[in-house]
């Protein structure tokens, strides 16, 4: 990674989140596509298996891996090129299937590894390092994820550890499709003064919907806030996400409210960050498909092979 790359900060935040949650590295599977972001998993949690697949196809590989063993935690690391362009189809369908994965887009608005072409999340008014205008409007992956049925959607900034780490922790504890759009400036190709994905621009235009805190199971909640300013969202294992200083016009459990808030921020030229949407009721893919609790990769011939007796019956039916 280049010195100062936002992706490194995200890796550090992932590591910190796993550490704080006591997640053993070997119970994590890291999956990625192709690009700078997708190389990142090679540099953290080295006791975890990793799979750097093909461009834009991480979601399908993660889907298969998850079906084989639902007991591991799946970290899908992707970029804006990998997800918003070549892999948008797989992203869409993984979200609508409620794949139980923490899906992180390290969003820098540019194709770094091929030297600075615009990506599909780049803003219309943004210019490239070489002074070219971006001719097409951006895809807002977070808004899209909400529409697709993702049950946890957040946006953050690689430079804001205090926001990113609690969001990561909450997403890791959430069951279902957890999507994090993390703005991650590219110091080599998209950190200039005319870029809307630069450190300076994001710091200036960042509007947080709430201050997020993750409260692990059993920990007492001590702080109290005025009504309407604080919400506690319980997750499946009993831990809580605490959303503080919540703005009054925003309800993160309501799709329309979330989308309205995102759209309004966009109109005002702001980058809305924080936990944008959460639904803790949604079933995940394993539940939808009614798959047994024992991981499929642990079933053996006794569990799986119907044997000769059944085969004789089948032969009889076919004769």
């Amino acid at each position: 990674m280049c010195a100062g790359c936002g992706h490194d900060s995200i890796s550090a935040a992932i590591l910190e989140a796993c550490f704080q949650l006591n997640i053993s590295a070997h119970r994590v599977a890291k999956l990625s596509g192709i690009g700078c972001s997708s190389k990142a998993p090679a540099y953290f949690l080295n006791q975890a298996h990793g799979f750097n697949s093909v461009h834009g196809r991480m979601p399908s590989v993660a889907t298969g891996a998850n079906l084989a063993n639902h007991e591991l935690m799946y970290l899908g690391i992707s970029g804006d090129g990998d997800t918003a362009s070549i892999g948008i189809g797989q992203f869409v369908h993984a979200a609508r299937r409620q794949l139980n994965v923490v899906y992180i887009v390290e969003n820098n608005g540019t194709y770094g590894l091929t030297k600075g072409q615009f990506s599909a999340t780049n803003d219309l008014e943004s210019k490239s390092k070489y002074g070219e205008d971006n001719l097409f409007p951006p895809i807002d992956l977070a808004a899209m994820a909400i529409q697709l049925g993702a049950s946890f959607v957040a946006r953050s900034f690689s430079g804001d550890k205090n926001q990113l780490i609690p969001l990561l922790k909450a997403s890791m504890k959430h069951k279902g499709f957890s999507f994090l759009d993390v703005i991650s400036p590219c110091v080599a190709f998209n950190n200039h003064s005319t870029s809307t994905k630069s450190y300076d621009y994001i710091r200036e235009h960042n509007e947080s919907v709430s201050e997020t805190d993750f409260v692990p199971l059993g920990k007492e909640i001590t702080a109290s806030y005025d009504e309407g300013e604080s919400v506690q969202v319980p997750l499946h294992d009993g831990s809580l996400i605490s959303l503080e200083k919540l703005s009054k016009d925003f309800d993160p459990s309501n799709k329309s409210s979330s989308l309205a808030k995102i759209n309004k921020a966009e109109e005002e030229g702001k980058v809305l960050t924080g936990l944008l949407y959460i639904n803790t009721e949604a079933k995940d893919l394993k539940e939808i498909l009614n798959v047994v609790d024992k991981p499929l990769n642990q079933l053996n011939e006794k569990d799986l092979c119907p044997g000769t007796k059944k085969l004789k019956e089948i032969n009889k039916d076919l004769s």
Binding site: A29, N52, V54, S60, T63, N69, N297, C305
Partner: protein, 609 residues
Amino acid sequence: MTQIVSTNEFVIKFANVNGSGSASANQMFAKGIFRSGVPVSPKNIFPSNIQGLPTWFEVRISEKGYLGRTEGVDIAVAMNPQSYNEDLREINSGGYLIYDSSWKRDFERTDINIIEIPLTKLCVEEFSNPKTRLLFKNIVYVGALSYLLGMDKEIYETLIAEQFKGKGKLIAPNIKALNIGYDYASENLKGSCEIKVNKSEKTKGMILTSGNDASGLGCVYGGATVCAWYPITPSTSLAEAFTDYCEKLRIEEETNKNKYAVIQAEDELAAIGMAIGANWNGARAFTATSGPGISLMNEFLGLAYFAEVPLVVFDIQRGGPSTGMPTRTQQSDVLSCAYASHGDTKHVLLIPSNPKECFEFAAEAFDLADRIQTPIIILSDLDLGMNDWSCPEFEWDDSKTYDRGKVLHAKDLEEIENFGRYLDVDGDGIPYRTYPGAHSEKGAYFTRGTSHDEYARYTEDGVVNARNLSRLLKKYQTASDMVPGPIFNQETNSSPLGVIYFGSTEASMQEALDKLHEEGIVLDAMRIRAFPFNLEVWEFIEDHDLLFIVEQNRDGQMRTLVMAEGGIIPDKLVSILCFDGQPITADFISNKMSSHITGSPSKSASGGK
């Protein structure tokens, strides 16, 4: 008027309108012959359309067991005025035409026998509902045929009862329709057909099933737990068969939960990606597709090859190139599968010839994929996959365990000092793998499609990469001893001439060899069942001066593979190629070979071949 006189050896062809409910009646007709003890091979010749276009159902009945397609029709059941002219042309001289004489008409041919049955009128008289009338018309002609062919009507009554088991209300009207046809024929058509079906014992120990159904069942027996697929003719029925069998055989009793997961993916790329992800994580997973899907899956096939992830892919070949003829058969993906994906890649192909082999190869493929840690592509085709075949019963050995290949579990890792995912520890080119989550400190590695060293670390060192590519080639050589060997039609070779064939061509091959034998031409025959070719394949080629290679494609793809992989001189290999989308016939094969050998012009009358 001459009449074809034949017992238990004939072809009957039904011409219907797609979507008129004829398929199940026609299948029932074929099953009735099978139940009479006579081998049948029904073929559904259908358009890429759901309703309205002509569709045919051709049944070859052969006590001798010749089940390949053959040119010419002995009995035509012409239910579709749209295709009367075409249907009429195909009838052999002295053959029979059965048509719905509710609307009488004259036919141009005078050398065939016209059998008139007023099907619509009979149905109008007996059934009030217009939709029911249309459906029962099909059963009425089955009833009439059972009389004309001298069959035991009870066989069909039993089949009706079986088919509508659980839908009791439908049994009586169907049996009524059957009797309407049977009674009309017995009262009006006595002596009008000299083709008969006599009871035999030839289907004892046999089943009637399709390659796709058998493959789906093979996946269940082979321990597949994840199936990811995208609908495409003619592979769809394979994934559906797997699902159906799982619903019956793979439900956990205590919880009513599924010991399997099936996902209809968003496209073929996702389908193969899911199968790769699941296999990487230690579950047995597969996808099923056809040529266009293979094209889309190329990138992922290369990844699975290079990252050495086990994988099973079924390619049910159809007519190409491009979208081609989606509902017609071909063997035209041989090369695109053998070398799928960019860079130096080679894949393991298994090529079944009949449903029993589809079942066995499907189950075996998962062991092979785990043992070799590479994609195994099963090359079937539309004719084998979608049509029913009379074939020997499925067999299974209950003492068989799944061979998961070289996998290191926590205990193994404890004892190992030095784990390298791509280290060639045993000298056979096959490394050891671990499943994610296996051990808290050892065995983790980073799977990647980029160049890597023995420890799965990224490298741009060309020497290291070349070493890895060479090991993959060694692994491929190891694979040639693991895959199913060829089948020979003779115990010992006795001719300087040989013939090589594969896949569904088997159905016509023995008949072709017998025909040539009658002409005094003796050939040794070998059926290839897998790629890479093993020593036996090369020895057979070595042992013969001239070899025919029979294929259902235009370019002689298997011939190219044999030449490229074995350095065989082109002059030694003569292509016999059928690529019109119809299953290859014995006449076609024997005529082409005979004319090449004797130098006389081909007797084949079929155009476009």
